[in-house]
Symmetry: C2
Subunit: 377 residues, 2 copies
């Protein structure tokens, strides 16, 4: 709110818009079906003018909150708590938010991370609160692995997957962003008060709801769309069939962001939502940070190493030596005559093939016959 001390026409305009947006943020619930169209139609200043005067008696549902509102006091509280307010068009405003059908009126931010810069290369890691130890481990490793690769880890600071993802990034000493359903001054869950302080230090805690707002259910759903919008992709680590993280995945899908999901046991209810996403072709299956980075990062720059089994000695043998190698054993010698039968090859083919194997140290002559030298691979 440094702008409140300036006085150019531009900054005056911003001040007017800031006050309108802060008022809307205080008075209107995110995604309110009646009020959102009014804001979209008239813009924040025009909409706020109508709302506070209850134009045409259409804004009764705001009346109680309008009566309580003191914008100066809200701004003073935010400043005292070290909370800054971002508006659309601000340098730090994450451009992904502009793609939302109902963007937030403003963003309340606590922490040093530059949100616009920090979310260019970022990833949402979300999942069930009732995560299993397996999911927690995966989330922490993904958080750590992606943070180490320069991705800002964005999540919701909830129990389970969220906190594990944040912690992974913190352990990697990289920024992480927590998007809250309530005000950024209201640690939720309370058990994560210290974590959220760490996140403020390492990155940022953000919210669409003003300081003091309680974390209501509707606000969680609205919060999920922010997580999906400010990141290029969302990874669902564990999700039951009712998990809120599937809501985040739906938002990511609607915004044409990358959606990825981590597999798990078919017997784990907290993996059922992930499996459904993959099965329905709505998410890519990912198993580690490298695969996530490949999906989310710069084309060509973040290629995951192709997972291969170990290469075995017989792999690059031509067909005939390979057939002979397979017909040999380690513990018993086999005659050339017998090899022609067991490998289905002519005597000259067997002799040439044995020469090939001998040169590579894969067969040795012993006891009037031949033995395999390399271990069967």
């Amino acid at each position: 709110m440094s702008c409140s001390t300036e006085s150019s026409p531009q900054s005056l305009d911003r001040e007017v818009e800031l006050r309108a947006r802060v008022a809307i943020s205080k008075v209107v619930e995110p995604l309110d079906r009646v009020l959102t169209p009014v804001i979209l139609e008239h813009g924040p200043v025009g909409a706020w003018d109508r709302i506070r005067h209850n134009a045409g008696g259409r804004f009764d549902r705001c009346a109680a909150r309008v009566a309580d509102l003191d914008v100066d006091r809200v701004l003073a509280v935010a400043e005292r708590l070290g909370i800054r307010i971002l508006l659309p068009g601000d340098d730090e405003w994450p451009s992904g938010l502009d793609e939302l059908a109902c963007p937030p009126a403003c963003l309340w931010v606590k922490g040093s991370e530059h949100l616009a810069h920090g979310t260019v290369r970022s990833v949402a890691i979300v999942g069930a609160r009732s995560a299993t130890p397996y999911g927690v481990q995966v989330a922490q490793e993904l958080g750590h692995g992606l943070a180490s690769r320069g991705f800002t880890v964005v999540s919701g600071a909830a129990f389970g997957i969220d906190v594990a993802a944040h912690r992974g990034a913190i352990v990697a000493d990289r920024p992480t962003v927590a998007a809250m359903a309530g005000g950024v001054d209201r640690p939720y869950p309370a058990a994560h008060t210290n974590l959220l302080e760490e996140i403020v230090e390492h990155g940022a805690v953000i919210s669409e709801s003003p300081p003091g707002a309680s974390p209501q259910r509707q606000r969680f759903l609205a919060r999920n769309r922010l997580i999906a919008a400010i990141t290029p992709g969302t990874v669902v680590v564990e999700a039951g069939l009712r998990s809120g993280s599937l809501n985040t995945a739906r938002h990511a899908e609607a915004l044409c962001r990358v959606v990825a999901a981590v597999p798990g046991s078919v017997y784990s209810p907290t993996s059922a939502g992930c499996h459904a996403l993959v099965r329905d072709g709505r998410a890519v299956l990912v198993t580690d940070a490298a695969e996530c980075a490949e999906l989310l990062g710069e084309i060509g720059a973040d290629l995951a190493p192709v997972q291969r089994g170990e290469v075995r000695v017989r792999d690059d043998l031509p067909e005939i030596p390979r057939r002979i190698f397979d017909a040999l054993t380690v513990h018993q010698s086999t005659s050339v005559d017998r090899l022609t039968r067991s490998a289905g090859l002519s005597a000259s083919e067997v002799l040439r093939g044995l020469g090939h194997l001998q040169l590579r140290g894969m067969a040795e002559r012993k006891d009037n016959g031949w033995r395999r030298q390399a271990p069967d691979g």
Copy 2:
């Protein structure tokens, strides 16, 4: 071999073809790169003529085996062991085999199952020999569940996934088919001798290799293509990145069969092959028998139930009652005035919404305010 007692021109033709195919089966390795084109070009009778006379000196690699061959003895052994021989065009010949670039010369079969009928509705369940207890459980449940739905379970009788899939079908008292790399008279692995006897009783043991043939590596790879070809789809339950079951999946893919894979822990090396298949878009993720049946069965007849989370009381509430419901608590009464503020609604909206909730038994008036009645879902 009932045909050997008949004498119509047709059956004489078949007898000639049978003897040629049996000879080829004894002398030529499956998928032999030199000999297979000869068989495809000249047909079994013409090819066998060339091979046994070593025409143009091109068939040295068969000479030793040709010298050993006694077709009458082979036929007698097969008859004594209760092994029947199927040729292309026979009623019982699985038509899927005709789609192979290099179909087997003939099929050696032990067991009462009618192969052509039994494989119309069938599924290959394959996977790692070094399966985990998790994979074994999944394979057994899939085998049981698909067999119970009328699918013939086809697999390779190997340790791990294969045996679990067969056992699942046997427990369901339904036919199952084991495709062997060696002769159908050579139980492999030896530990599965009893299992294979049970499979002969419940279904069939089949092979492209003649009685007495040992299970060589090359024959396993050739066997895998038979498993893929005779079934409409292959389910990979667990597979390391080097698992032979990925070879079966590749054959199934090449034959335009359905390929499905079961997910597991990202830390399990025996699930890495399954995850790679799904990730690369080469297999559909499946988590239970119903989903497999839907993929493999008749369109419309085998639909898997859509997996849903439980439906909760608030799910079908209209927006306004839902916002009020979310703002209510179970343990403390909230005044209408307070609800207008916390839910962001007008007093009349709150009163109407409370009426709605009260009618549904989801809110009750108490202590000058309102409490939530249904549990938070």
